[in-house]
Point group: C2
C-alpha cells in the first residue's frame, strides 16, 4: 500500500537468511545508503535475523560479489515538484534487482520491498514478482497545522517516516494562525518571543526537519497564512494589523476570528517583504504557501485610513486588493525563484499562472481551475479532523477514471492538458482539537488510504481489500515510533488509574469520535489549553470491533452462516455484560462517570441484538409488536445520541458516537423475511 | 514517591473544581510560571476538568483574589550542586500554600501535589496535609550512555520529564566511547562527521536539551571518557591514538576494547586542551565528567615512543601518568571555573580534593574516599542494564542508617564531615543492548525506586509499600510520553503481525530478561546494529504477573486463604492452557518459534503447580514419590533454563528467564506439612 502500477507474480520465493546483503553502486547518493541501512534495520527487526552485513556507507560500501539485493540508480534527484520517482523491482529466487533513475525511486522501492515481506512455517521470504511503479500524481501531501496546537520536532519526524512508508512526498507545515506563531524569526523576533508561548521551531530545528524529510524523499512546503488569521502576528506587531488585538493576546479558541493584516498600507508590505524571504529561505523548496484562508479584503478596503494607499495603487474593490496583494507578494518571491501556492479562497483569474491552488472549499473547483489553466491540488474530502472513515477519503479521487466517474459530463470537458493541471492532493490535519499525544491517532492509518488514492491507478477502488491491507500497514506504522495505536491504552490507563482497562477497551471498540461539523462544535467548549487526553481523544475512526461486527453482520445477512452467527453472538454478549464492569470502575473514577449512559445504551442494544439473533434462526417471522418494541428502544437510543451530539457544550457524555446502531437494526430486520430481503437488495444496490 | 521528609495528615479534603486557580507572585522566575502551566495541563488531563484559568505567564499572570493554590517563592535558584531544593506544602480545605526559597523547591512541590491527587465517588480532591520536604542527598542522577546506542533528543527530553517527576536533579550524558562520538565539534568536525554515522547532537540540540533540563530543575553533566574507550576519537583523529584503528572504523561490539588516546604525547594534550573547553562550554554546569573507565596507563608508559615526553614531565609509572594526566586536564578546566568528576577507576590520593568520584567498581570505595576527603557518589548497585528488580536498587543505600546497616563497623568510622562527602548517587543506563525504542522500558519505573532512595530518609525501606507506590507512579510516568509500558505491546504486535497478542502477553508476564552478567554475554552475539526489538526486548524486570503471583503464594503460605488460592489457581490454569495458543501463533510466525520450549516449560510448571495446589487442601502429606517426581520435572526445567542462559550465542531460545520456578517449588512444599513449616520459617527469617 499504495498498490504499485503493475505487479506480475510468479510462484516461488527468495528466502531471507543471515547472509542477506545489499550492494549499492559507486556514485549513489548518501540518501540511498542511509535508506538501505534503515531498510536492513527494519528487515532484521521484523525477521529477528542477525544479518552478517553491517552498516553500509560511502566509506564502507561493503559490496559483496553476490549480493541478495542489487541496487542500480542513475542519478541524484532534485527534490522538486514533478521529479522522477519511478522504480522497478525484479525479484527472482536468488536475487533482487531494485532499479530507478533517481534516488527517490530507490527510496520508494525499499518501502515496497518491506511491504512484500512474507512468512510461512519455514521462515521469512520475498515472493517472486516483477514490479514497475510510478506515481499517478506528483503532489501527494500531508498538511499539518502546527499553529492551533504545536507539534514538537519528534512528532513531525515520525510522521515524516510514516509518510515515506506510504510514498507521500510533500509535508505542508501551516506555521501560524490566530492561536500562535511557530517559527523563529531573527528579523522580527517578537513573533516567536511574544506570540508562541515558547512553542515554536528554532531555525536550527526547521533545518533539521527539512533535512530529515529530504533524506526520505519528502519536500517541505511552509505556509504563512496571509493576510487573515493574523492574531499571532498582531500580538507581536499590532501596527501591521487592521484591528489591534495585542492586549487580548493569542486567541484561545478555534474558528474564524476575522482578523486581517492591514495590507492596505505600504508599511505592512515592507514588513512582509522582509519577513517572507527570511522564512522561505529556511525551506529549500521552490514553493511557498501564502495561505489565504478566511480572507475578507472588504474589511481593508472599507477602512478609511487606507484610502490614499488604495487610490495610489489603483485598487477600487476587495477583489482588486486581493489581486494587488497576491501579485505584489508574488513579485517579491520571484526574485528568489520561488513560486506561490495558496488556498482556493485566494483564487482569481488574473493571477500568475504559475501559482498553484489548494482546493478545500468544494470538489468542482479543481475542474474549474484546471480549465482556467491553473494547477491545483485537492484537499476537499481529505479533512482528517472531520473524523470520517478511511473509505470516505479513499473514494475521493481528484480525477476519477471515466468508468467509475459519477460526474461524467464535467470530466469529459477536461482535455488531457487540463487534466494535467490537477496535480494531486493533500490530507489536511487541522489541530484545533488535537494534541501532540493524540495527533498520530488522528492521522494514521487513514492517511495511508489517501496516499494510495494519490499514488495508485484510479481503478484500485476495492474498499474491503483496502481495509484488509490497511490493517497490516496500521501495525507496520508503529515501526516509525508512531503512538497511533498505543495512545489509546495510555489514555484509558491514565484515566482509570490502577483499574484493569479491559471494559473500557470493549466500550471504546464500538465508539467513534463525533464526525463532521459536530467535531467543530467542540470549539464552543474547548480552549486551546483544554485537556485533549480524555476518553473521546482515545476513540478512533473505523473503530476496530464495530468494523469487525459489521463485516459479520453483512456476511450473515447474505449467508446465514454459523461462523458469522457465533462471532455476532460473542460480540453481543460481551457488550451486554460489559456495562456492569463499567459501572464498577466508574463508581470510583469520576472522569469515567460520563460514560455510563453510553455504556448502558450499548448494553441495551446488545440485548436487543441477542434477542433478534435468536429469532433469525427460525423461519417464522417475528411478531410485529416484538419488532416495534425493539425498534422503539433503538430509536430512543438514537435520539439520545443525537441530542447529545447537538449539545456541544455538554461535558456530560462520552462525546463519542455508538456506531453499531444500524447493525442492530439490520439484525432486527433479519428476524423478518421481507425486511431481510429488502436489506439484501439495498445492500447490493448500494455497491453499484 | 519519593516519600517526603515529613507528612502530617488530617481528615478532610480540598475538592478540585473548574474554578481551580493558581496565583504566582510578582518576581517569580519564568520557570515557576512554566511549571505551573504544566501542572495545570497535567491536572486537567487527569481530572477531565476544563479549568477556567488558562495559561499564566509573566505577561498575563492572572492573579485571582482567592486562588486555590498560592505559590510563594523567594528567589531564583542557581542550578548548581547543593542549591536549596526544599519546599513546603500546606493543604487546607479551602487553600493550598506551596512555599520554597528557590524555584527548584517549587518545581518539586508541584510534583508532590500531583502525586497527592486523589479521587472518590464524588470527584477529585487533594487530601489535607502539611508537608515539609528537602532531599537527603544533593546529587540524584541518571547517567545515559548515548554512545553505545544513540538516543535522539526527544528520548532525552521525555526522560528529563520523568526524572523531574521523581525529583532527580542530574542528567549525566556519556557522549563517546568505542561505538561512537555523539556531539558536534566545530573545532574538530571529523569527530561527528566521521565517528558518529550521523547519530550525534548538534550544538543547537545540546543547548535545547540543557535548556529543557534547566526548566525542570535538572543539571546536565557531560562526559567525555578519557583517555580510554577512544576508538571513536581515533577513527576521526588517529594521530592522537596509541594504536591507530581508523581503518577498522567504529567498534560494533560491546565491552572493553583496550583503546587509549596517547596521553604520553604533548600533541594529544594540545588537542584535548582545545576540544574539552569547546564541549564544556556547551554545558553551563560547573562539573565536567572526564570518564576514566577502562583506563590502562601502562600501555602508554610502556610505549617506547613516549619516553621523551614522560621523562620531561617526570612521569615514571602508569600511576604517575594517571596523576599527571588528570592534574593537567584539571588545570585547563580551572581556567573556566569548572570542576572535574570521574569514575572511581581514575581515583588517586594525589588529586585535587575538589574532584568528585563516581563509584561503580565496589560499594566500600565510597567509604574509603569519604575518609580520604573526596566527595563521591554511588553508582555501584544502580546499574539498570543488569536488569535486576527495583528492590535490589532500592535497598542499596549510599549511607545506610545505623539501625539497618549491615556493616556497622565501617559506618561508625565515618565522622559527620566524612559522611557529607557521600553526596548521592546516579543510576547507570549503559545502552549496549538498548535501542531508542526499548530505552524507556529499561529505565522506568526502576529509576523511581532509586530516586526515592536518594531523596527520602534512609528509614523508608518497606519494599512492598515501595512496589505499591511504584505501580501508581509507573502509570503516571506515561504522562511524559514515555513508551516504557506501550513498547511491549508494540514489539509483540510487530513480531506477530495480525495475530492477537494475548497469548504472548500471558507468556511474557512470567518472564524477565537475563540478569547480571548474563546480560553482558549478549555481547558475543550482538553487534551495535543487531535488532533490539525482539521478544527479549519486550520483556521487563519485575514482570507484572509473576510478581502478583508471588504475592499470592507468600500470602497463601501464611494464611491458606481462599481468595489467594483462587487467584493462584486462575494464574496456573491460564499458564497451563496458554501453550496451545503459542503453538498456534508460532506455527505461522517464524520469529516466535524460539519461544516454544519456554512456553512448554511454563505450561509444565503450571500443571505441576495445579496438582500441588490440589494437595494443599488436604491435611494429608503428599506421598514422597509424588513430591520427588514433580521436583524432578521442575529441576529439569531449571537445568534447561540454566543451560540456555550460559549459551549466550544461541538465538534459539526466548533469551528470557521464567521467574515463577521457585514459587512452584513453594507450592510443592505446601503439600507437605513439615516442608511448609520450614518455608514459613525461612521466609520470615529472610525478612529480618
Amino acid at each position: 500500500m499504495p498498490m504499485p502500477q503493475t505487479v506480475t507474480s510468479e510462484p516461488g520465493k527468495l528466502k531471507i537468511l543471515e547472509d542477506f546483503s545489499i550492494s549499492i553502486p559507486e556514485g549513489a547518493s548518501k540518501k540511498v545508503f542511509d535508506c538501505a541501512n534503515r531498510f536492513l534495520r527494519r528487515l532484521d527487526g521484523r525477521t529477528g535475523l542477525f544479518f552478517i552485513q553491517g552498516v553500509i556507507s560511502e566509506i564502507h560500501p561493503q559490496r559483496p560479489a553476490f549480493p541478495t539485493l542489487q541496487v542500480n540508480v542513475t542519478r541524484k534527484a532534485n527534490l522538486d515538484f514533478q521529479e522522477n520517482e519511478a522504480y522497478s523491482i525484479s525479484l527472482k529466487p536468488d536475487k533482487i534487482l531494485l532499479e530507478a533513475e533517481t534516488d527517490l525511486g530507490i527510496i520508494h522501492g525499499f518501502e515496497t520491498l518491506l511491504q512484500l515481506l512474507s512468512n510461512d512455517e519455514s521462515g521469512y521470504y520475498f515472493p517472486i514478482v516483477e514490479i514497475k511503479d510510478t506515481p499517478r500524481f506528483a503532489w501527494r501531501g500531508l498538511m499539518i497545522d502546527v499553529a492551533s496546537h504545536f507539534m514538537p520536532v519528534n512528532i513531525i519526524k515520525r510522521n515524516i517516516d510514516a509518510m515515506a512508508m506510504v510514498k507521500m512526498n510533500v509535508l505542508h507545515l501551516s506555521l501560524c494562525n490566530d492561536n500562535g506563531w511557530r517559527v523563529e524569526s531573527k528579523l522580527f523576533p517578537k513573533l516567536h518571543l511574544l506570540a508562541s508561548e515558547d512553542q515554536y521551531y528554532s531555525q536550527a530545528q526547521i533545518k533539521e526537519i527539512v533535512q530529515y524529510a529530504s533524506d526520505r524523499g519528502i519536500r517541505v512546503v511552509p505556509e504563512i497564512n496571509l493576510p487573515s488569521k493574523s492574531t499571532a502576528i498582531q500580538v507581536a506587531y499590532p501596527e501591521f494589523g487592521l484591528t489591534a488585538s495585542q492586549a487580548n493576546g493569542l486567541s484561545r479558541i478555534a474558528g474564524n476570528h476575522h482578523t486581517m493584516l492591514n495590507v492596505g498600507n505600504e508599511k505592512t508590505f515592507e514588513f512582509l517583504e522582509k519577513l517572507l524571504p527570511e522564512i522561505s529561505a529556511l525551506f529549500p523548496d521552490k514553493y511557498f504557501h501564502i495561505g489565504g484562508d478566511n480572507i475578507d479584503f472588504k474589511l481593508i478596503v472599507n477602512d478609511g485610513k487606507n484610502s490614499d494607499f488604495l487610490k495610489k495603487n489603483s485598487v477600487f474593490s476587495a477583489e482588486g486588493l486581493q489581486v494587488y496583494f497576491i501579485n505584489r507578494i508574488n513579485k517579491s518571491f520571484k526574485k528568489t525563484n520561488k513560486k506561490l501556492i495558496a488556498w482556493d479562497n485566494m483564487f482569481h483569474e488574473n493571477l500568475d499562472k504559475q501559482t498553484i491552488f489548494q482546493v478545500k472549499t468544494k470538489k468542482e473547483t479543481t475542474y474549474d481551475m484546471a480549465i482556467s489553466g491553473y494547477q491545483n491540488l485537492l484537499s476537499f474530502g481529505y479533512e482528517l479532523d472531520l473524523m470520517l472513515p478511511a473509505q470516505t477519503h479513499y473514494t475521493n479521487d481528484p480525477l476519477p477514471p471515466l468508468e467509475i466517474h459519477t460526474d461524467k459530463d464535467k470530466k469529459k470537458l477536461l482535455t488531457p492538458a487540463q487534466e494535467n493541471n490537477i496535480i494531486g492532493g493533500e490530507a489536511l490535519m487541522w489541530t484545533d482539537f488535537v494534541s501532540a499525544n493524540s495527533f498520530d491517532s488522528r492521522v494514521w492509518p487513514s492517511t495511508a488510504a489517501i496516499a494510495e488514492r494519490l499514488w495508485s491507478v484510479g481503478t484500485v477502488v476495492d474498499i474491503s481489500d483496502m481495509y484488509k491491507r490497511l490493517e497490516k500497514v496500521n501495525i507496520q506504522l508503529q515501526e516509525c515510533g508512531l503512538n497511533h495505536i498505543s495512545n489509546q491504552n495510555a489514555v484509558l490507563q491514565q484515566l482509570s488509574g490502577q483499574h484493569d482497562i479491559t471494559p473500557l477497551k470493549v466500550l471504546i471498540g464500538t465508539l467513534e469520535p463525533y464526525k463532521n461539523s459536530l467535531q467543530l462544535q467542540r470549539g464552543s467548549l474547548y480552549k486551546t489549553y483544554s485537556p485533549l487526553s480524555l476518553f473521546t481523544d482515545a476513540a478512533i475512526v473505523d473503530a476496530y470491533d464495530a468494523r469487525k461486527f459489521r463485516t459479520h453482520i453483512i456476511s450473515y445477512l447474505h449467508t446465514r452462516s454459523t461462523p458469522d452467527k457465533i462471532e455476532i453472538d460473542k460480540y453481543l454478549r460481551l457488550w451486554r455484560d460489559n456495562h456492569n464492569e463499567i459501572i464498577r470502575i466508574a463508581s470510583s473514577v469520576p472522569t469515567l462517570r460520563h460514560l455510563l449512559k453510553t455504556s448502558e445504551n450499548l448494553s441495551t442494544l446488545a440485548t436487543v441484538g441477542l434477542d433478534a439473533l435468536k429469532h433469525t434462526e427460525t423461519k417464522i417471522n417475528a411478531p410485529k409488536a416484538w419488532y416495534d418494541a425493539h425498534l422503539l428502544t433503538i430509536n430512543t437510543i438514537k435520539k439520545y445520541q443525537f441530542a447529545n451530539m447537538s449539545n456541544a457544550l455538554s461535558q456530560n457524555d462520552a462525546r463519542c458516537e455508538l456506531v453499531i446502531i444500524d447493525d442492530i437494526i439490520t439484525l432486527l430486520d433479519l428476524a423478518n423475511q421481507e425486511l431481510a430481503k429488502k436489506r439484501i437488495y439495498d445492500e447490493e444496490h448500494s455497491k453499484k
